[in-house]
């Protein structure tokens, strides 16, 4: 099947406006007859469910957590970008668009990114109207801060819990629609298959995680808002439950998977402390606003950080990238940290860490406070004390979290940080309307591949999730459903539902009957290690080929030796996890295949064979300026389809942050 991205004609600025004015509409009486299924209730899912419910569609939402409010969007810390130009610092829709395309290393679709930038301002308006308590200045207006990969201040935030505040806003809007009867919500339910009738997505099979029962649900359309797949690495900043299962089932039913190898490794996370580690914790990118990153100039310097004098420290980001300094994009900052650690300059017990230091920010803020308060002869202690208070107000909750996890006080000792898997730019391939290659099946938010290219800029995930849910899908879904108004609800005793349910049930029984000796967790850890070592921050041909063979062997072993305790018809988290890990193993293989295919380095995808003399990513625009969309053809068998990327406005160049 040829890929049709359905990008509307016209100039970049006109495309979305034109689309909105000419797309088909569904009248209110017909909307009441149309059923929409939404999988996942994070920013994308909750905002889509609320908006579609408001329009009058009959919506059902499903989440595996115990409440929609717990979806992992909640954990986003730093902020959300919007081209409001409230700071008068030269921001515009075009600049946000340009920064995003450049940040993504010229591997994103221009038309989608421009639409994202142009609705970004509406998102902030909508959230404020819902009562999202963004940070404000003394004049009562909204406050902004900077994030990586940009030179303007366009990030809106609510202390270190922007994700929670935005998600609560969307969740409240969703609960209002539940109360009005427009949305029915199902918690502790997991989607285990898409039901296809006459080539269209017409429903889902879900498992009630409390009782273990399988349920059939019909929908005229199905929206996957199920997030990313970073947990394929076992250790990531994702929540423990975050998984690829919904997207993977869709993939196996015909939805192409776009750019699976594009993984974001976030530079500032708390380093691994031991084998028991179950997840990694992010320290917000906003900390790079004020913190300075360094390692000792001498190899294997075992002195305590505060004993290392200024002139013996290497502020390597400031040294290598003077224009952006500590605020280079995530992929660049992560690789630079890895480079220093691999070269033997790492710090801490594991030597797999660098310092994120607040000492100079504390002094700088302290001096400003002293001036504000008119203390002309303030001593050093007063300056430090006042500086710490300012830092506490800005980043207090993050510092507290660091201290709880590590037992060290970051106001006194520099934090130790190291990169960790954080986000996946890849996902289900979607066209301009967010529809996958399966008619009636849509993917929104992190679950799709669309807007970030090979690297996502900070504070852009929240923006994309909400843009898709509040402002894109209400139009594009109508354009599809307008042709479906004569389709009556299909009863779920239709053979397609029966068959899909049986396949799900058979697979569960197969898993339970293996009765092997090794736990699900142990398989997941082994998969994660293969992925991190060979398909992580740096990849090469040899490693990827080894990884593919190792993953295939691991899959065989999993299906012959996994041990799942308990029963099918009860609350059984080990079974839930087994279902997910089985899918992660298959996805892991595809990620390696994609990484092997892409003989270039771009954004988060770094192939060691393709780098400049000073270790920067080297793209091969003549060969790889395309989206790799993979079609599932059977076990270990994927066919590559290419969507060429045409840059009409931005001229791809070597990304420079120097």
């Amino acid at each position: 099947m040829a890929l049709n991205s359905k990008i509307p004609a016209g100039s970049l600025e006109e495309k979305w406006e034109k689309y909105k004015s000419t797309c088909k509409l569904v009248n209110p009486a017909n909307k009441r007859q149309l059923e929409v299924i939404i999988i996942g209730t994070g920013l994308a899912g909750a905002s889509a469910a609320a908006s579609l419910g408001e329009l009058g569609y009959k919506v059902k939402t499903f989440c595996f957590q115990d409440s929609p409010r717990r979806a992992h969007s909640i954990a986003a810390q730093g902020g959300i970008n919007a081209a409001k130009n409230y700071q008068n610092d030269g921001d515009s829709t075009y600049r946000l668009f340009y920064d995003t395309v450049k940040g993504g290393d010229y591997r994103a679709r221009e038309a989608n990114v421009y639409r994202l930038a142009s609705v970004s301002a509406n998102i902030i308006d909508q959230c404020v109207a819902q009562g999202v308590p963004f940070a404000r200045e003394y004049g009562g207006l909204l406050s902004n801060r900077s994030f990586g990969g940009t030179q303007v201040q366009r990030t809106f935030y609510a202390a270190g819990q922007t994700g929670q505040q935005l998600l609560i806003g969307a969740y409240q809007a969703l609960e209002r629609q539940v109360a009005l009867g427009n949305v029915t919500q199902y918690s502790r339910h997991e989607m285990l298959d898409v039901v296809m009738i006459d080539g269209k997505a017409r429903g889902v099979i879900v498992r009630n995680l409390v009782t273990g029962e399988l349920e059939r649900h019909f929908g005229h359309a199905v929206l996957l808002c199920s997030g990313g797949y970073g947990n394929v690495f076992y250790l990531s900043t994702n929540a423990m439950g975050s998984n690829v299962t919904a997207a993977w089932k869709a993939h196996k039913k015909g939805a192409y998977f776009g750019n699976p190898c594009y993984t974001q490794i976030h530079p500032t996370c708390i380093p691994v402390s031991g084998d028991h580690q179950s997840k990694l914790t992010l320290m917000s990118e906003s900390l790079r606003n004020d913190g300075r990153i360094w390692v000792p100039k001498a190899k294997g310097d075992n002195r305590k950080p505060n004993d290392i004098p200024e002139e013996e420290r290497d502020y390597y980001l400031e040294r290598r990238y003077p224009a952006f300094g500590n605020l280079v994009p995530r992929d660049v900052a992560s690789r630079a940290a890895k480079e220093r650690c691999d070269a033997g300059y790492g710090v801490g017990a594991s030597k797999q860490a660098v310092y994120l230091d607040y000492a100079s920010a504390i002094q700088r803020y302290g001096k400003i406070e002293v001036n504000k308060q008119g203390l002309s002869n303030a001593d050093a202690d007063t300056i430090t004390k006042l500086g710490k208070e300012v830092v506490k107000e800005k980043y207090g909750n993050l510092f507290e979290m660091y201290e709880k996890i590590t037992g060290e006080n970051p106001y006194e000792v520099p934090m130790r940080i190291y990169p960790a898997v954080h986000y996946t730019m890849g996902g289900l391939w979607v066209d301009y309307e967010l529809q996958t290659t399966v008619p009636g099946l849509y993917a929104l938010g992190e679950a799709n591949f669309s807007d970030h290219g090979a690297n996502r800029l900070g504070a852009s995930a929240l923006m994309q999730g909400l843009a898709d849910g509040y402002f894109v899908i209400p139009y594009t879904l109508g354009n599809y459903l307008a042709d479906d108004i004569r389709t009556k609800s299909i009863p779920t005793d239709h053979p397609a539902f029966v068959e899909a349910e049986k396949a799900v049930s058979d697979r569960i029984n197969q898993l339970m009957n293996i009765k092997g000796t090794e736990s699900v967790e142990s398989f997941h850890k082994r998969l994660g290690k293969i992925m991190w070592d060979k398909c992580g921050m740096a990849r090469n041909e040899k490693g990827l080929k080894e990884a593919i063979a190792e993953i295939q062997a691991l899959r065989k072993e999993f299906w012959s030796n996994v041990r799942i305790p308990g029963d099918v018809n009860e609350y059984n988290p080990e079974l839930d996890k087994a279902n997910r890990v089985a899918d992660f193993i298959e996805l892991g293989e595809l990620m390696c295949i994609d990484a092997l295919n892409r003989n270039e380095s771009c954004g988060g995808h770094f192939r060691e064979e393709f780098q400049t003399e000073d270790g920067e990513a080297l793209r091969q625009d003549d060969k790889y300026m395309y989206v790799a969309a993979w079609e599932y053809k059977g076990e270990s068998n994927f066919e590559l389809h290419k969507e060429d990327l045409n840059y009409e406005v931005v001229h791809p160049s070597a990304r420079s942050y120097k």
């Binding site: 717990r70 609960e175 179950s278 914790t281």
Partner: protein
Amino acid sequence: MEHYTMNLTLKVWKQKNKNEKGRFETYQVKNVSSEMSFLEMFDVLNEQLIAEGKEPIAFDHDCREGICGMCSMYINGRAHGPWHHTTTCQLHMREYKDGDTIVVEPWRASAFPVIKDLVVDRQSFDRIIQAGGYVSVNTGNAVDANALPIEKHMADEAFASAACIGCGACVAACPNASAMLFVSAKVSHLAMLPQGSPERKERVTNMINQMDKEGFGSCTNIGACEAECPKGISLENIARLNREYIGAMFDGGSQNAK
């Protein structure tokens, strides 16, 4: 931090499902690292149980960074354990020493029925939000975000109330199993902002009614909720809720109260 390992005795509530009776079961966990989180210690125990062919302990958790509100253990008589302003997932084992015995129970409240072991059903909180915990504004209706300045201290206070993660520790900590801190945090968050003001009377009335319907107990100003709240939600919210509620009552309830 000095690293050490320890052996522990755990007494954990086991309950097959909401209909069957539960009981405490005793487990020995060996070689626990002081650097583990409390939930990682449970991971180790569960791996051990699976290897022995026994059933692991079911517990709720997800983000493991203290924000999703999913984890919910009642540890040695305290919701989320001994650390101040900390969820169970952020509690670390350096709190304990070799030979300690730790008792772990689920949240106990009739409005939070046990699903299995340490897992409880908190959908009553969703239904309270459905009763009015929102601003009625459809997508696309909004004016420019800076059209309406909001005093910084009001915005900050609204944020402090909105920091509630809906974990239910307040209910678990309260001898009456009252949900007043949770409800008051939402009522306060929205009442303090001009956007939430038009519906404040219906909101407080309907949310309180729903809270009562769910079977949560009444508030007798004990303050255990505030002491155990991992996000530091203050009792002042309850005072504010009471003022809001009385205001709504004197106004003849509200036109749209259900």
